[in-house]
Amino acid sequence: MSSVSTFVKPVSPQHQATGVQGRRKTFEKLIQAFLFVCAGISVATTVCIVVVLLVESVQFFFEVSIVEFLTGTKWTPLLKPQHFGILPLLCGTMLVAVGSAVVSIPVGLGTAIYLSEYAPPRLREVIKPVVEVLAGIPSVVYGYFAVVTISPMIRTVFPSAGPFNAASACIVVGIMTLPMIISLSEDALRAVPRSLRQGAYALGATKYDVTTQVVVPAAMSGIVASFLLAISRAVGETMAVTLAAGATPKATLNPLESIQTMTAYIIQISQGDTPAGTLEHRTIFAVGLTLFIVTLMINLLAQWFLSQVREKYE
């Protein structure tokens, strides 16, 4: 690690001053060491988590083949006969991710465009804090909001829906991820130089033309990054989904049914009485690793899109 080498770099003789100067040097060194430890903690934690996930997962895969894990369509680790196919959980997670995106992307992008291009400054100053409050609501509150409010509404429209259903989870996670889309997309839209808008107006473009043909395309990579981060958040969302969507691992695309996501499954096992060290218990590490890989990929993709934004106007 390069930071280590700078840290232990030998002090050259002429720098070895005495007295006040020496104490100042020592102080600087201490500060540097302290900050290095701070930075090291997060790196070390990440490494530890990945190692634990990998070790436990490898043990899991000694007993269950990766092929069965990735292609099996039944997930019944606690029932006989046991099945360890992740697809139902993956499907549940994807259903919530996509469903929430259907809610959050249009509403979020619409809000961002409104705030950046259309809203009068005063209104903007009202809407922005409200959106930030949305981001501050604990996810468990969203969860029971889904159960006591959204789900009954869905059931009045679609009587066939169960009390726990994917649709309510999709809607509530969509609302939860709105602030992320709104603030990141708005930043991207606002970063588009004024001069570009003026260039288009000077050619006889209307506000709608300027917004749709110049501003949004110019901000596209930032907007896409905000979508991806919101989806990544939806994939990792646990509390609200566990409450709203139920606990029925099912490879279905029907949002009115109860499903189970990867995160909800992990909660279920962690809180249940499955003894640690058993195969049943190790499933959560395999599921956790899968979840980790999925979100990592989405985040990397989002980072790539964000780097495109930075390149554009330099």
């Binding site: 001069s195 003026q198 107006y201 000077a202 050619l203 006889g204 473009a205 209307t206 554009k312």
Partner: protein, 307 residues
């Protein structure tokens, strides 16, 4: 020091081919004559085209007592200026004197500035530009603009130039291609980009981007072209090409150009207006303004004593 120290080059040395000397220099006394009293004084809304021009020169844009305030700061003070058809009008003056502000008033680009207030009148032909009934979108299609800082869209070279025509509803690919080629040729960029029209415009050099912006403005085929220092980022060769372009466009368009380069103003323009601290100190035929300026401030400026 005399104002005559400014060097007005022989037009033939600038533009060798189709231009004859008297075409450039005919600005003096015979073409535009704005001594007509009805012209600068009373509001002549009812017949703005018929005055101010002798022979076949018509006034296209006219401002009267135009003032612009940015918040509390007054950037323009009672500007009354006429822009004759098929002529090049140059605006000169030190930095911050309001040249760009004036230009932006003519196609209402100032509307978008927060806290701006505009007083006075601007007419395009007999249309009151600041009338509430004026269609700003239509106005801007007729009055094109090249900005001081080049601002190509982060799109392909082709899409940049085709942007205006597409706004006007042209969808036909070959027609668009024709317009793009024609516009790029006029802005002296075609040879450099014809092989890579689908590349991003942001890959072009600063000077190429500026010529692209000129092509983009030409592609909408405006009647009037406002150019804010179009050659400030260009090398001498490209500058010469832009100046040639201005000569050519002069026959079909009406051009208002802001420039910091006095030689350039002298070379390309028929009339020149000198701005100083938000006021228009004087305007007149270019040759006259550069050789026998009426005002001391003008003389000081063009001889390089300040600014």
């Amino acid at each position: 020091m005399s104002a005559k120290t400014i060097d007005i080059p022989d037009s033939t040395s600038v533009k060798p081919e189709p231009l004859t000397g008297d075409q450039v220099m005919d600005v003096g006394d015979q073409t535009i004559e704005i001594d007509d009293p009805t012209f600068t004084q009373a509001p002549v809304v009812d017949r703005p085209n018929t005055v101010g021009a002798s022979e076949n020169t018509v006034t296209r844009i006219r401002t009267r007592d135009l003032s612009v305030f940015y918040g509390e700061v007054q950037a323009l003070k009672n500007i009354s200026l006429s822009v004759p058809q098929h002529r090049v009008t140059a605006l000169i003056g030190p930095s911050g004197c309001g040249k760009s502000t004036f230009l932006r008033c003519l196609n209402r680009m100032n509307d978008m500035v927060d806290g701006v207030r505009i007083a006075g009148n601007v007419w395009l032909d007999d249309q009151d530009v600041y009338d509430t009934g004026t269609d700003v979108v239509e106005l801007r299609k007729r009055v094109g603009m090249v900005f001081q800082k080049s601002n190509p869209f982060p799109k392909s070279i082709f899409d940049n130039v085709a942007y205006g025509p597409r706004l006007s509803g042209i969808r036909n690919r070959s027609e668009l291609h024709q317009i793009v080629e024609h516009s790029l040729k006029r802005s002296a960029l075609w040879n450099e980009v014809k092989e890579r029209l689908s590349d991003s415009a942001l890959q072009l050099s600063g000077g190429q981007q500026q010529r692209l912006c000129i092509a983009r403005a030409l592609a909408t085929d405006p009647e009037i072209l406002l150019m804010d220092e179009p050659a400030s980022a260009l090398d001498p060769a490209s500058t010469a090409r832009i100046e040639n372009l201005i000569f050519e466009l002069r026959d079909r368009y009406t051009i208002v150009i802001v420039t910091h380069n006095m030689q350039q103003a002298a070379r390309v323009s028929d009339r020149t207006a000198f701005f100083y601290e938000g006021r228009m100190i004087e305007d007149g035929p270019t040759k006259q303004l550069f050789t026998t300026p009426a005002e001391k401030q003008t003389e000081d400026y063009i001889t390089g004593r300040f600014g």
